[in-house]
């Protein structure tokens, strides 16, 4: 691999011969003290007269925490919102599955928390690969989110005095996580969904459920609409607007087995990338340490057990290799509570990337438990002895029940078996301080963007970021865009519309025409395994090169052998899967290239060549203190890398230490 300067005039030879283009800058963050930047930005933002807002149509794709919150808020402000979700109801977006909680710097515990500390923890937790000004804003806004959600009737856990309860999460030594038993995501999403439903009923939001975005309309350099397919009738239609907001979540399902919902996919952000939006840090993927291990080849997805369990559960494996005794027969002194041993300060509450890698290390040593040795114990015996079964049940009852349902083992009496799984993607569409992509008028919010978590996200921060973006950050910045930008109506017969619609239709027809002998899932499993093995918990140059060689072959095979029965003019779930796979192939390629080019370890990206003597991730700050924003240049063609240099004025990069 070599990086060419675009000015050198060398023609790119292969996908790996990416070129380095002009740097990108986050030009929208105001200068000045970090505490005042968001105030300053809002003050500078242009406003749209309330009477004029209804003349503006805004498309919001996705109805999770970010999209639901944005759609409701923009409609409350008077905009005409046209909103899309592929599910049958906006209430089913995958934010609903988030279990543990949401962070906020309320300092209700008086335990030393502050906006400054949440900011610091998030930058450090992200291994110094996030943008300081964005993260500080996130910490500031976090307190407003809790107020907003309580006002909506979100039933957070409370103390007997009627005030809100909190708990601790990984990577943090204060108790700032608000929660609603093990269903915090559900309750927060229903709050946003209810606010959105109110706006739908009032006629301010036009909802298109069971409708999937398949392409972006860019006219005169600005995002002006989307092409979407009605999943029931198969009809492909263009929807026009003055701005487009993507709130379509992350791309973890590229791995096939992940904790994402089965239909979560990358098509919306990938099609936007193909239309000019840069894609940042695609190799920054998060592997969650506490998931239920897979039980066989039939496995269709993996199930997370909330990180909050690490508050009270103790993680261990046998000290001896190949110890197959049942856990109860392994005496205390023959157990290795390896997180407590290696990281005494944080113990079982180390950040996710560290807990995941430690589990991989002990399993690779042959000390893993359960079928195939791919598991470690998460043991509640001490907590039950200390707090009583009833107290443990009150905190985690629904999680224990879910575990038992899936594994047929009772975690009150037998330790849980857990193993890491793909859970979240820190990478996503590159956005500036305003959450605008490199395509003017196209915004990306929530997990769909890359902005706030750097190379590793802390627990309970996804819900915080999704709601921060949707409720509080996007509305004023979108206001500014619409107030500042003269936009002519797009004529319905604009040639670009028919062209993009035809591209979308052609691709579906091509898939249907192959009539081969392999199912979409069989390709997806193969791609997922390739990525998990080579671009998963640990990565090295040889593995990444192997994956980069294999992906184009797999793509070529797809176009020879894919089989999808039926037509495009009907509900056709196999066609939906195959169509998403086409984008996964390209995305997987970019992930591997990004992982290959970033020859350092940081956060969730662990290059085995770049480790400390203790085996921890070793960053190479002098070379890689930047966000990698990739520009698309054609399927299989070498992309262009644009670097956004990261400046740390407030949190000085150090080797992360949780010992």
């Amino acid at each position: 691999m070599s990086a060419h300067d675009t000015t050198s005039g060398k023609a790119p030879m292969s996908y790996l011969d990416y070129t380095v283009g002009t740097p990108v800058a986050d030009t929208r963050a105001p200068a000045g003290p970090i505490e005042q930047r968001w105030d300053q930005r809002r003050f500078e933002a242009k406003l749209v007269n309330p009477a004029n807002r209804r003349k503006h149509t805004v498309i919001v794709v996705g109805t999770g925490l970010a999209g639901g919150a944005a759609g409701a808020t923009l409609a409350e402000q008077g905009y005409h919102v046209v909103q899309f979700c592929f599910q049958d109801s906006p209430r089913r977006a995958h934010s609903i599955a988030a279990q543990g909680g949401i962070n906020a710097a309320k300092n209700y515990r008086n335990d030393g928390d502050s906006i400054r500390r949440l900011f610091y923890d998030t930058v450090k937790g992200g291994d110094f690969r996030a943008r300081e000004s964005n993260v500080h804003r996130l910490a500031q806004v976090s307190v407003e989110i809790i107020d907003q959600c309580v006002a909506q009737g979100v039933p957070f856990a409370r103390e007997y005095g009627g005030l809100l309860d909190t708990r601790s999460f990984g990577g943090v030594q204060v108790s700032r996580t608000f929660y609603a038993r093990g269903q915090t995501g559900q309750q927060l999403l229903l709050g946003a969904y209810q606010a959105l439903s109110r706006q739908i009923a009032a006629g301010n939001v036009e909802l298109h459920a069971r409708t999937e975005m398949l392409d972006l309309i860019v006219i005169d350099g600005r995002a002006r609409g989307i092409v979407a397919r009605d999943l029931v009738t198969g009809e492909i239609r263009t929807h026009l607007a003055d701005a487009v907001v993507l709130a379509t979540g992350g791309y973890g399902n590229v791995f096939y087995l992940s904790t994402n919902a089965k239909n979560s996919n990358a098509t919306a952000i990938w099609r936007a990338h193909r239309r000019g939006a840069y894609f940042a840090n695609p190799c920054f993927t998060q592997i969650h340490p506490t998931c239920i291990p897979r039980s066989g080849d039939h496995q269709s997805k993996l199930t997370l057990m909330s990180e909050s369990l690490r508050n009270d559960g103790r993680i261990w494996v046998p000290k001896a290799k190949g110890d197959t005794r049942p856990p109860a027969q392994i005496p205390e002194d023959e157990r290795d509570y390896y997180l407590e041993r290696i990281y005494p300060a944080f113990g079982n509450l180390v950040p996710r990337d560290i807990a995941s890698r430690a589990a991989k290390v002990v399993c690779d040593e042959g000390r893993g438990v359960g079928p195939g040795g791919q598991g470690v114990y998460l043991d509640f015996a001490d907590a039950i002895a200390r707090l009583g079964r009833a107290a443990v049940e009150a905190k985690y009852g629904n999680l224990f029940e879910m575990y038992e349902r899936i594994t047929a083992e009772d975690p009150y009496t037998v330790p849980m078996r857990i193993y890491p799984a793909i859970h979240y993607t820190m990478g996503g569409l590159w956005v500036d301080y305003d959450l605008q992509t490199t395509v003017p008028g196209l915004f990306a919010i929530g997990e769909a963007n890359f902005s706030d978590h750097g190379a590793n996200r802390l627990g309970a921060s996804a819900l915080m970021q999704g709601l921060a973006d949707g409720y509080f950050v996007l509305p004023p910045t979108l206001n500014d865009y619409l107030g500042r930008t003269p936009l002519e109506p797009v004529p319905g017969d604009h040639p670009q519309l028919a062209e993009v619609e035809a591209e979308v239709t052609d691709r579906l027809n091509l898939i249907l025409a192959v009539d081969g002998d392999r199912t979409p899932d069989s390709f997806h499993r193969e791609l997922g395994e390739l990525l998990w093995d080579n671009c998963g918990m640990a990565r090295d140059e040889a593995g990444l090169r192997h994956a980069l060689a294999r992906i184009p072959e797999l793509r070529e095979e797809f176009w020879r052998r894919i089989k999808v029965p039926g037509t495009g003019a009907e509900l056709n779930q196999a066609l939906e899967k195959a169509n998403r796979l086409v984008d996964y192939f390209e995305l997987a390629e970019l992930m591997c290239l990004d992982a290959l080019h970033r020859a350092e370890s940081c956060g969730g990206h662990f290059r085995t060549e770049s480790a400390t003597p203790e085996g921890e991730a070793a960053r190479r700050d002098e070379e890689f203190t930047y966000a990698a924003a990739w520009e698309f240049s054609g399927t299989g063609d070498a992309p262009v890398l644009h670097k956004e240099e990261l400046v740390f004025e407030h949190v000085h990069p150090t080797q992360r230490s949780y010992a």
């Binding site: 107020d147 009923a201 066989g296 496995q299 089989k563 999808v564 779930q573």
Partner: protein
């Protein structure tokens, strides 16, 4: 294990459907019910036949997308969602009937997929607290007694899957509506809209063509989240006092 499946196949809302028989083999007891259907669909695709359409997404029992009537019971023999039902609850050689939710207010879209948008419209009629973004007071401005918070949570757990409607002989959505009314009406934040909420939601429920409640209790028995039947009594009380 080897199983015989009798699955409802229906091309669209206006075409007649029928039970179609399929054989599946090599089913592991660790598979979820949906993974068993995935196995069937993989075979159907390779044979060039249309796979069985069914709604599903999170496969963790929380999104509420999946739902089918299995051997006459909504979500099958265990009290859980279809995605969390595992094949260890069936025996080798079993014949399993699989049908869509059947209710007047849930038209069939295709095969096992039904249109549950009527539930969204009930929420839109009043299942919210009017609190525009930015208008909220400090979260601790109003303490909420723990009992009220816990009662609200117990009802807020509803996932909107529609099993209650499918299980009810009248196709009633009383338990669904009660879950949201109780969740919001017991909280101090929900008090200002307490009366209009219950009236509007009950009105919307009737307008969508759901049946009336005759206190049969099948709904609460089928509910994968354990929304209590007493919620309906609370709904009635809220309605009477409104």
């Amino acid at each position: 294990m080897n199983l015989t499946l009798r699955i409802w196949r229906q091309q669209g809302p206006d075409t007649p459907g029928e039970m179609t028989i399929y054989q599946v083999s090599g089913i592991s007891e660790d598979m979820s019910f949906l993974e068993m259907l995935d196995t069937l669909n993989e075979e159907l695709i390779l044979r060039g036949e249309r796979p069985v359409a069914f709604d599903h997404d999170c496969r963790e029992g929380i999104c509420g997308a999946c739902g089918m009537v299995i051997n006459g019971q909504a979500h099958g023999p265990e009290r859980t969602t279809t995605c969390q039902l595992h094949m260890r609850h069936f025996k080798d050689g079993d014949t399993i009937d699989v049908e869509p939710w059947r209710a007047g207010a849930f038209p069939v879209v295709r095969d096992l997929v039904v249109d549950r948008s009527a539930l969204d419209r009930i929420i839109g009629s009043g299942g919210y607290i009017t609190a525009p973004t930015g208008s909220a007071p400090e979260a601790h401005a109003t303490a909420v007694p723990k009992e009220a918070a816990d009662l609200a949570f117990e009802h807020a757990e509803c996932i909107g899957c529609g099993a209650c409607v499918a299980a009810c002989p009248n196709g009633s959505a009383m338990l669904f509506t009660a879950a949201k009314v109780v969740h919001l009406n017991v909280l101090p934040q929900g008090a200002p809209e307490r009366a209009s909420r219950v009236r509007n939601m009950v009105g919307a429920m009737d307008a969508e063509g759901f049946g009336g409640c005759t206190n049969t209790g099948e709904c609460a028995t089928a509910c994968p989240k354990g929304i209590p039947l007493t919620g309906i009594a609370r709904l009635n009380r809220e309605f009477l006092r409104s």
